[in-house]
C-alpha cells in the first residue's frame, strides 16, 4: 500500500476561514510518543486548537489471534499486549478464562497472582512516571525509575525465566510455584523500594519546572471522565473513586489493607501524584501478601479437566502423560460452555477486561480485550485543546498510552 496522506476529517482539512491555522503532524515515529501514535494537530501559533489522533500503527490482530490459539497458548500474546505490565495481563486473561469455566484457583495461587499484579503495577507506574519525567525534562528521574525496573525484571526472571514476557499463569493456576529465592527477592524489594520512591519524589514533587508544566494542564473533569469511559488512575485523578480491587474484589484483595488513591484536580500533576501514591499502596499489598503467603498447591487439582498436570507426574507416570496429552494434543483439549462472560481486573492502566465467547472447544470463539489505553487515548483531544504544543508530551505521558494495547 502506498503512503497515505494525512487522514483528516473535513473540519480539519478544508476550512477556509481557518486557513491561518497550522497543521502539524506528530508521530507516528516521534520520541515523545514512545511508541507508535500519530496526532495531527491544528495550531494557532503555539496553541493547540484541535488534535486528531490517528492510531492503528501497531495493529497486529491480537483478537483474531485469540480465535486461533487455545486458552493456554494465548497467554503469550497477552504478554505483548501491555508490555510494561505483562503479568497483570496474564492474570486478567486467565481470570476471564476461569470465570468462563467456573474455576476457583487455590489460595496460594491467588496470593501469588496478587503479588505479581501489584509488582506489575509498580513496574508500570515507574515507567509511566519515568517517561513523563523524561518528556518534561527530568532525565535523572527516568534513570532512577528504570534502575528499579531492572530489579523488578530480576524478580520476574527468578520467577519464570523471562524478563518481561512472562506468560506465567495457566488455566487454573500458574506455570509453577514460586521459589524461596523469589520470596527473598521480593522481601528485599519491599525493604528498599520506599527509599527510591522518596528519592524520586524529592526530585520531582517540588520541582518548579515539572510543576509548571503539569499543574492545570490537561484537566479532565469528573463528568467527562465518566462520560468518556475512563478508568484506573486517569479516572481516579479526576475524582472517580472506582477501583475494582475494592468495588468488585477479585482474587483475594479482600484480605489486604490498602487505600485507593484519588485526586480531585484531574490535571497531569494529579495523575502523576496518584500513580506515585499507588506505588506505595501496592507495596503495602505486596508486603502483606508475601508475609501471609498460604501453603498448599498453586494449581487446581486434576479433578478439573482443564488444568495442565504437574510436570513430575507427567514425566514419571503413564497417567500423567496421558493427562498431559489429552490437553495438549491438537484434536483433544478441554471443554468450555457455549457461553459468554466478561471478567476484568484493575490493571495498572485501568479496567482491563476480557469478553470471552466459548464455543465448546478450548479455543475462544471471540476473545475481546477491553483495552484501557484505547479508551484513554480517545480523551486526548479533549484534554489538549487550548494548551500549548509543549503540553502535548506532558499530557501523553500522564495518560500512559501503550501502543500495543491501544491498537492490539
Amino acid at each position: 500500500m502506498p503512503l497515505e496522506p494525512a487522514l483528516l476529517t473535513q473540519d480539519l482539512a478544508h476550512d477556509e476561514q481557518q486557513d491561518y491555522l497550522w497543521t502539524l503532524n506528530f508521530g507516528p515515529q516521534h520520541p515523545a510518543t514512545h511508541t507508535t501514535l500519530r496526532l495531527v494537530l491544528k495550531l494557532q501559533g503555539e496553541r493547540v486548537v484541535d488534535a486528531m489522533p490517528d492510531i492503528g500503527y501497531l495493529h497486529s490482530g491480537f483478537e483474531k489471534l485469540g480465535e486461533h490459539l487455545d486458552y493456554n497458548q494465548y497467554v503469550t500474546v497477552t504478554d505483548r499486549m501491555n508490555y510494561i505490565s505483562p503479568l497483570a495481563n496474564n492474570v486478567a486473561w486467565h481470570l476471564a478464562v476461569e470465570r468462563l469455566l467456573g474455576i476457583e484457583v487455590p489460595p496460594r495461587c491467588q496470593y501469588l497472582r496478587v503479588i505479581l499484579c501489584e509488582l506489575a503495577r509498580i513496574s508500570d507506574h515507574l515507567l509511566c512516571t519515568g517517561a513523563m519525567g523524561l518528556d518534561t525534562g527530568a532525565f535523572t528521574f527516568f534513570l532512577y525509575a528504570f534502575n528499579r525496573r531492572e530489579d523488578l525484571y530480576d524478580i520476574f526472571e527468578t520467577l519464570c525465566g523471562a524478563r518481561f514476557t512472562n506468560s506465567y499463569t495457566r488455566v487454573g493456576g500458574l506455570m509453577y510455584d514460586a521459589t524461596p529465592l523469589f520470596i527473598e527477592k521480593v522481601r528485599q524489594f519491599v525493604r528498599t523500594f520506599p527509599r527510591t520512591l522518596d528519592d524520586m519524589q524529592r526530585l520531582l514533587d517540588r520541582n518548579r519546572i515539572f510543576l509548571d508544566r503539569t499543574r492545570g494542564v490537561g484537566v479532565l473533569s469528573r463528568e467527562d471522565a465518566l462520560a468518556w469511559s475512563c478508568t484506573g488512575p486517569v479516572a481516579r485523578a479526576s475524582g472517580v473513586t472506582r477501583d475494582l480491587r475494592k468495588d468488585e474484589p477479585y482474587l483475594c484483595y479482600r484480605d489486604f489493607d490498602f487505600r485507593i488513591c484519588c485526586a480531585r484536580e484531574g490535571d497531569c500533576l494529579a495523575r502523576y501524584l496518584v500513580r506515585m501514591s499507588e506505588m506505595r499502596e501496592s507495596l503495602k499489598i505486596v508486603s502483606q501478601a508475601i508475609e501471609n503467603l498460604p501453603a498448599g498447591p498453586v494449581n487446581v487439582g486434576q479433578e478439573c479437566r482443564a488444568v495442565l498436570p504437574e510436570k513430575p507426574w507427567v514425566y514419571s507416570t503413564i497417567e500423567g502423560c496421558i493427562a498431559h496429552f489429552e490437553l495438549a494434543m491438537s484434536n483433544r483439549g478441554f471443554e468450555t460452555p457455549c457461553e459468554e462472560s466478561y471478567a476484568a481486573i484493575e490493571s495498572p492502566n485501568g479496567e482491563l477486561g476480557f469478553y470471552l465467547v466459548g464455543d465448546g472447544s478450548d479455543v475462544a470463539w471471540r476473545a475481546r480485550c477491553r483495552p484501557p489505553s484505547f479508551v484513554h487515548f480517545a480523551v486526548f483531544p479533549l484534554l489538549i485543546r487550548g494548551h500549548t504544543l509543549s503540553d502535548v508530551v506532558a499530557v501523553l505521558g500522564s495518560l500512559n498510552i501503550i501502543a500495543a494495547e491501544l491498537d492490539r
Binding site: E4, P28, Q29, T35, T36, Y57, L58, R80, E150, R163
Partner: protein, 262 residues
C-alpha cells in the same frame, strides 16, 4: 574525501580509517514500536549502559543517524513510515532488526503484521529473541561494528555490489495453511491459493537481482541469526510473483528461480 587515489595500499588504509571512525560512533535511530522498544530503553539505561560501546547517542531524527534499530513488530500501516524513515537516513547506514517480530513476524502470523522487515528494506543484523535481552542487542551492535570494519569502504562502493541489491529473502508468502486442525471451531470460508498471495508492485529492478543472487549471499557473514532456512527453502519451492491482489485478477504467475540454500 574526493581525492583521486590510485589502487594501492593507501586506499585500503583510508578505508580502514573510515570504517574505524564509523564503527565507533554509531548513532542509533530507535524505531521502537513494541515490546522490544522497552528492552531498547533498558539497553540505553543505567544498568546495561550502551555508552560503553559508543552507540548510545539515540537520535530520533533520521537525518542525524546511521543505524536504524527496528525494535518490535512492523505492521501494514507502519511499513510505509519505516521505508520513508530509512530513505531519509544518510549514507552510510545500517539496520538492525531486533527481535523475532521485526525479523520474521514472530508469533504474529496475522493479516496485519509484516512477516519480516527484510522483505522490504535491507537489514544487516538480526537479533533473535522475543524480546532479546539487552546483552543480545549489545552483542549485535558489536557484531555490526565488526562487519563495518571488515566490509565498509570509504566511498561506499560495497553498497553497489549486486548481492547487496536484492531483498534478502525470497519475497514470497507461504501458503495460508488452515493452521488449526479442523473441528475446533474455526472454519475458514475460503483459503486462497498460494499463487494469489504473492505481492504485487515489486519493481523490476528489485526482483531482477534477487532472482539471480538469492537469499544466502546477501546475508553476510556477520549476521547473528537469519530467519529459518527451512522456511526459506519452502518458500523457494513455491516461488511465484506478479499476481494482482487488489483487483482479484490474476495474471499468469511467473516462475522465478530463487536461491534457497543457506
Amino acid at each position: 574525501m574526493a581525492i583521486e587515489l590510485p589502487e594501492n595500499v593507501v586506499v585500503s588504509r583510508l578505508d580502514a580509517l573510515a570504517n574505524w571512525c564509523r564503527k565507533n560512533s554509531l548513532w542509533p535511530m530507535p524505531f521502537a514500536t513494541a515490546c522490544c522498544g522497552i528492552e531498547l530503553m533498558a539497553t540505553g539505561a543505567s544498568r546495561h549502559d550502551l555508552a560503553r560501546f559508543g552507540a548510545e547517542v539515540f537520535r530520533f531524527s533520521p537525518r542525524q543517524c546511521d543505524l536504524m534499530i527496528v525494535a518490535g513488530r512492523v505492521v501494514m500501516k507502519m511499513l510505509p513510515v519505516l521505508q520513508r524513515i530509512w530513505q531519509q537516513m544518510l549514507e552510510p547506514k545500517w539496520c538492525i532488526s531486533m527481535g523475532a517480530c521485526a525479523s520474521t513476524g514472530g508469533v504474529f502470523d496475522t493479516y496485519a503484521v509484516v512477516q519480516g522487515i527484510d522483505r522490504f528494506i535491507p537489514v544487516d543484523m538480526y537479533v533473535p529473541g522475543c524480546p532479546p535481552r539487552p546483552e543480545q542487542l549489545i552483542q549485535a551492535i558489536i557484531d555490526l561494528q565488526e562487519k563495518i570494519q571488515q566490509e565498509g569502504t570509504l566511498r561506499g562502493v560495497e553498497a553497489a555490489l549486486p548481492q547487496h541489491q536484492g531483498p534478502k529473502r525470497a519475497l514470497i508468502e507461504l501458503p495460508v495453511l488452515p493452521s488449526m486442525p479442523a473441528g475446533r471451531g474455526t472454519p475458514y470460508a475460503a483459503i486462497p491459493p498460494a499463487s494469489v498471495l504473492a505481492p504485487a508492485a515489486v519493481p523490476a529492478s528489485a526482483t531482477g537481482p534477487a532472482s539471480t543472487t538469492g537469499a544466502a549471499s546477501a546475508t553476510g557473514p556477520a549476521a547473528a541469526t537469519g530467519p529459518g532456512s527451512s522456511r526459506e527453502a519452502h518458500a523457494a519451492a513455491l516461488a511465484v510473483s506478479g499476481a494482482d491482489l487488489a483487483g482479484g485478477t490474476q495474471p499468469a504467475a511467473v516462475q522465478q528461480p530463487v536461491g534457497g540454500g543457506r
